[in-house]
């Protein structure tokens, strides 16, 4: 098993005729991703790598059942494309674009919530269920070099560090059930808590590695979720950036930031709360693999 994505997930690609999509579609299908259709405004009737392209999401979903829409859409057009998918009733969206305006992200995430659509991203590098399917750039052309099937769920706010963690797990012979880059922006869809809830229900996942970052209260919420019994499997967490807390802090630009966060967001606090909730916290990158080994029972 895996979460969110496997070889049966029917994927729609928005922006299918663009350069990046044309380059990545073959690597996804070769790995096992079931891409059922593409969308590009004004390009209906074309085919990309044998995949039928439609002029709109509404036309595509009339012909194909779709579980997930993958948006290869530049940041400035991401809102329009995402709203189109939500309106067409697509149940899950994966937004890759980096640099989506915050006002656009807020609108997309609000509309998605109203429609009951699950959103990953924006600013997500992709996701992969090793040995089954992958979406986005994750894994590149030879995913086997970085990923292998196994019992560890991986979720990261940083796409680069998520990939790096999977690389070192794989090199140590430890495989992954699903790896999701949730995106590094302030406003994103699926959060640590959403992913932990899914990993909890996945029988194949025996342990989860979570990579956080300074700012927001996502890691604090994950700690609270564990305390409340929502996630009971072993969790290995790393949150870099504690050194910033002792650096001369730049002058605050306004009162608002301090008032909204009120102390939430500091890595030291996130790590303390996660530890108190029973998570294993890696202070250094090299501790992750041994902690995962321990969580899996010294195998």
């Amino acid at each position: 098993m895996s979460i969110l994505l496997d070889g049966r997930t029917r994927v729609l690609v928005q922006g299918a005729t663009g350069g990046e999509a044309r380059r990545l579609i073959p690597t996804m299908t070769a790995y096992g991703t079931r891409i059922v259709a593409g969308v590009s405004p004004g390009k209906g009737g074309e085919r990309v790598e044998g995949i039928p392209v439609y002029g709109s999401v509404a036309e595509a979903v009339k012909e194909h059942a779709v579980d997930l829409s993958l948006l290869f859409i530049p940041a400035r057009f991401a809102k329009a494309a995402a709203l189109e998918a939500i309106e067409a009733g697509v149940p899950a969206l994966h937004i890759l674009a980096e640099g989506v305006p915050h006002h656009d992200a807020s609108e997309v995430l609000t509309r998605a919530k109203g429609a009951g659509a699950f959103v990953i991203g924006p600013n997500s590098q992709g996701m992969i269920s090793p040995g089954k399917a992958k979406v986005g750039g994750t894994g590149g052309e030879v995913p086997q070099l970085m990923f292998r099937p196994g019992p560890v769920g991986v979720v990261s706010r940083s796409g680069g560090m998520g990939a790096e963690i999977c690389l070192f797990l794989t090199r140590a012979g430890i495989g992954q059930s699903t790896y999701v880059a949730i995106g590094g922006d302030l406003l994103i869809g699926a959060d640590f808590v959403d992913l932990l809830a899914l990993f909890e229900k996945d029988p194949e996942t025996r342990c989860v590695v979570m990579f956080g970052e300074p700012g927001t209260g996502r890691e604090e919420e994950a700690a609270e979720f564990i305390r409340s019994g929502g996630f009971t499997k072993p969790l290995v967490a790393m949150i870099p950036g504690e050194f910033m807390e002792t650096m001369a802090t730049p002058a605050p630009v306004s009162h608002t930031g301090a008032l909204v966060e009120r102390g939430v967001g500091a890595p030291s606090m996130k790590k303390r709360l996660l530890r108190e909730a029973g998570a294993m916290v890696a202070e250094r990158f090299s501790e992750i693999v041994p902690l995962v080994r321990r969580a899996l029972g010294g195998s």
Binding site: A75, G99, V100, L145, G159, E164, G241, A251, V253
Partner: protein
């Protein structure tokens, strides 16, 4: 985040309907004297810098005579406020303020929606009020698809303790500020104080707008107002940072560069947001003193990389250079390494003596390895070399720790 200077923020509020005090700019004591005269002989002089808490630094003064205006203008123009030298002043009509309120808008990561904050006691110590009497600071989440409805704004003002007609004035200000927040793609829009005047009107007596960098493409007018005065968010740009900005501007379509200069002596060009941050913590733990942070987004950026390496190597007193990134999925690492190799060659240093440690992994690694071999002495590593290995190695070699290995 891009913070607009106060006069630009005030102009935007005014243009969208929120009353602001009369104001003028001055870049010399003489100009300040005539600005104060135009404002009625009494005015507040404020340092025009892109940082907050100017009052506590003594960079805000009420002046009531031409002599006082000249003296205080000269003094403030000679100041450096939180790293920013004061080049211009904002002269603002002196107001008779009966009450100060705090009003702001920002995004809440939890609800993914705009959040309005309001406190009927504003001013410089609003954080203290929030800490000691948190019930005084009210928060109103706003559905971005519905917008802010006037009755909700009025309700917020009343719950904060204001009575009509003042509550109506405050509610109007809230609605106008929300319009500015949306129209200008703000990350934060803060009015502090929102001042009640003797005649019962409310005006935005001071204001800070932070514009979303990710939305500047649709606000060329705002981008033009930002300019270099911004600095890097907490101090003005250094010459090296200006050089890197110029390199980045060569081609806005490939490989956006983020660069900050630090005070250390190890060139630290380790990119990937999370990878860079984790490595920065690690090199500090190893006792290293990084001279910069550097990030570049994927693209055909050989030339930018070449110039960036050359610029960083020109920093005086540098003891070593680390170049790395997290494992790449698609972007071919040989593109980056080609730029690095050219930059190293152009700098013409003896790399058997000046330590350079490089780590890349991902597609194109074989070609990258061949390219690096063209520069004798450069130390090359791949996937099995962790960010901890990298940081330890460059610190060992740069400071000749534990002898040469």
């Amino acid at each position: 985040m891009a913070r607009l200077l106060e006069h630009d923020s005030l102009d935007l509020l005014k243009r969208h309907g929120l009353p602001v005090p009369a104001h003028a700019l001055a870049s010399s004591p003489d100009e300040a004297v005539s600005a104060v005269a135009r404002l009625g002989g009494r005015a507040v002089l404020k340092a025009l810098v892109p940082v907050g808490k100017r009052g506590k630094e003594g960079a805000v003064r009420l002046v009531a005579s031409p002599d006082e205006a000249r003296r205080e203008a000269a003094r403030i123009l000679g100041m450096t406020v939180r790293n920013f030298p004061v080049r211009r002043l904002l002269a603002m009509e002196a107001l008779e303020i009966k009450r100060e309120c705090f009003l702001s808008l920002t995004f809440d990561w939890r609800t993914k929606s705009p959040l309005m904050l309001f406190c009927a006691e504003g001013g410089v110590d609003v954080e203290e009020i929030a800490a000691t009497r948190p019930d005084r600071l009210l928060a109103l989440p706003i559905g971005i698809t519905e917008g802010l409805a006037y009755p909700d704004a009025l309700d917020l003002a009343r719950r904060a303790g204001l009575e009509s007609p003042l509550a109506d004035e405050a509610a109007r200000a809230m609605c106008f500020l929300y319009i500015v927040f949306r129209a200008c793609d703000c990350r934060t829009a803060e009015v502090n104080p929102l001042a009640e005047l003797a005649d019962g009107r409310m005006v935005a007596a001071s204001c800070a707008l932070e514009v979303d960098d990710q939305a500047l493409f649709r606000h060329p007018d705002l981008e033009a107002r930002l300019g270099e005065e911004q600095g890097n968010g907490w101090r003005p740009l250094t010459p090296l940072e200006k050089t890197l900005r110029a390199i980045d501007a060569l081609d806005p379509h490939v490989g956006a560069i983020r660069f900050s200069e630090l005070e250390g002596d190890i060139g630290f060009m380790v990119s990937g947001g999370g990878y860079g941050l984790t490595s920065l913590g690690e090199i500090l733990r190893e006792g290293g003193r990084p001279a910069c942070t550097f990030d570049i987004t994927p693209g055909r950026y050989e030339e930018k990389m070449r110039r960036a390496v050359l610029a960083v190597l020109a920093k005086p007193g540098l003891k070593g250079l680390a170049l790395a990134a997290n494992v790449s999925n698609f972007a071919r690492v040989n593109v980056r390494v080609a730029g690095i190799v050219q930059g190293l060659k152009d700098a013409g240093l003896d790399y058997t003596k000046f330590p350079v440690v490089v780590r890349f992994a991902g597609p194109g690694v074989e070609e990258a390895r061949r390219l690096i071999a063209e520069v004798p002495g450069v130390e090359w590593h791949e996937a099995d070399f962790s960010l901890e290995d990298l940081c330890r190695r460059i610190v060992d070699r740069a400071y000749r720790r534990g002898g040469e290995r």
